[in-house]
Amino acid sequence: MDLMQKRYADTVVLSPVGRIDHSTSEGFKAALAPYMARCAVGLDRVLLDFVSVEYISSVGLRVLMLASKQAKTQGGSLGVAALQPAVKEIFDISRFTMVLDVFPSVREGLARLSPPALAAFDAA
């Protein structure tokens, strides 16, 4: 799975597209891995822009959980933003909104993760 990437100061915004399910989750995990390796204290923060994600299954959610655990272990910050209504419902029903940092929009996510990133986003 290709991840479109944009950088705002110390924060990388990644944009997956389509369905994250049993057939695409391994690709999503592999594409995410190099960014999560740098998601650490003093390095990058990562925000996933889910505006183009149509569906996420349990295995896709597990990839997010593993990424979140890795970020915490490394002292980094990971957020997910701009969920489509159906995907937001899946997050709610699976209780992932209780264990991941989920934001209504990319801008609100950046505001929480990194003020310099928000300034760069607003200036862009």
Binding site: H22, L61, M65, K69, I90, I93, S94, R95, M98
Partner: protein, 324 residues
């Protein structure tokens, strides 16, 4: 089972891990909610009151999901009884047998998922075991199944030793991934992820299939395992599924605790093209409102993820009957 007869599944115990009892505070809360809804109405006969309860009150107000631990009966139309697990619900089942068919001359076939306490604790209070002339066959894949049953019957845990039970009790070891013909059913056990292992059972009679799959954790990144369970559930009329935790819990703080979620149950049933998913082995912390909310959420999840076929979603409660 004659071809024109239908298969019925009866739930005698649906709670996971430990039996629970509704508290006085919960009863009071239900009564207050019901009385408020009834205000201004004339409910002056039992019939009118019953209709009001059934039609106008939410299930969580007018009923309870119940608190007995795992025990499910599969009614085949034959004289022999077929059960899955012997949790505390088996006590209620046994008393019902005494009341409806008498104390002796009955045969019971019990398929055990595993010997954890909540799945065997009903047996010391299973009254048919205390009457000669009854025959009880306990099936399972665990080598230590008989030891577990005898252990809970012995001192210092219980006053009546297993050896003093008058019924004819046999333990029958099964192998997973093999088909057996027992009590008119084709039965296939399957190994599941759980502490000390557990086994699911796929039951088939004529064209009807019931899968009993409790105390099972599913490793989401193991595609081969996911596919093998989709095959195990394939085209089932009913899948009884351990949905004790949320998906977030099973992938975080309760990973490797051996249970699953409503989300994974639905995905497996969708892959398997199963007709019905029954949420089962309810979390003991959950009250009736919370289980009802879990049911509503799972139905909503089914709606927004539905492909070309609907999966009917149910939540098991003690006393529930499903006719297939």
């Amino acid at each position: 089972m004659p071809p024109d007869e239908r298969l019925t599944v009866k739930f005698w115990g649906t709670r996971g891990s430990i039996p629970v009892a509704m508290t006085s505070a919960e009863v009071r809360r239900k009564l207050i909610a019901a009385l408020l809804r009834a205000s201004g109405r004339t409910l002056d006969t039992p019939e009118k009151a019953a209709v009001f309860l059934e039609r106008e009150l939410d299930f969580a107000v007018s009923h309870t999901f119940g608190g007995n631990s795992s025990c499910v009966e599969i009614v085949t139309g034959r004289r022999d009884y077929v059960l899955c697990d012997l949790g505390s619900g088996a006590r209620v089942f046994g008393n019902d047998v005494l009341a409806t068919r008498g104390p002796s001359g009955n045969t019971f076939h019990a398929f055990m998922s595993h010997p954890h306490w909540d799945h065997i604790m009903g047996f010391p209070f299973f009254m048919p075991a205390y009457t000669s002339g009854n025959r009880i066959r306990i099936y399972g894949c665990h080598a230590d199944l008989e030891e577990a049953f005898r252990g809970q019957h012995g001192a210092p845990s219980f006053p009546v030793d297993f050896s003093r039970l008058p019924a004819a009790i046999e333990f029958v070891r099964l192998e997973p991934e093999r088909d057996y013909e027992i009590a008119g059913l084709r039965v296939r056990p399957k190994l599941q992820h759980h502490g000390g292992d557990s086994y699911g059972y796929r039951f088939q009679v004529n064209d009807k299939v019931v899968v009993y799959s409790t105390d099972a954790e599913h490793k989401l990144d193991d595609l081969a395992e996911i596919r093998s369970f989709a095959d195990f559930f394939r085209d089932a009329d009913l899948v009884i599924f351990d949905s004790q935790y949320s998906l977030a819990e099973t992938t975080s703080i309760k990973e490797d605790w051996g249970h699953s979620s409503n989300v994974v149950g639905l995905e497996l049933c969708q892959m398997a093209r199963a007709k019905r998913l029954c949420l089962y082995h309810h979390e003991p912390v959950s009250d009736d409102e919370r289980i009802a909310a879990l049911l509503a959420e799972t139905r909503r999840l089914e709606e927004i993820t539905r492909g070309d076929r609907r999966v009917e979603i149910l939540a098991a409660f003690d006393g529930m009957e499903i006719v297939l």
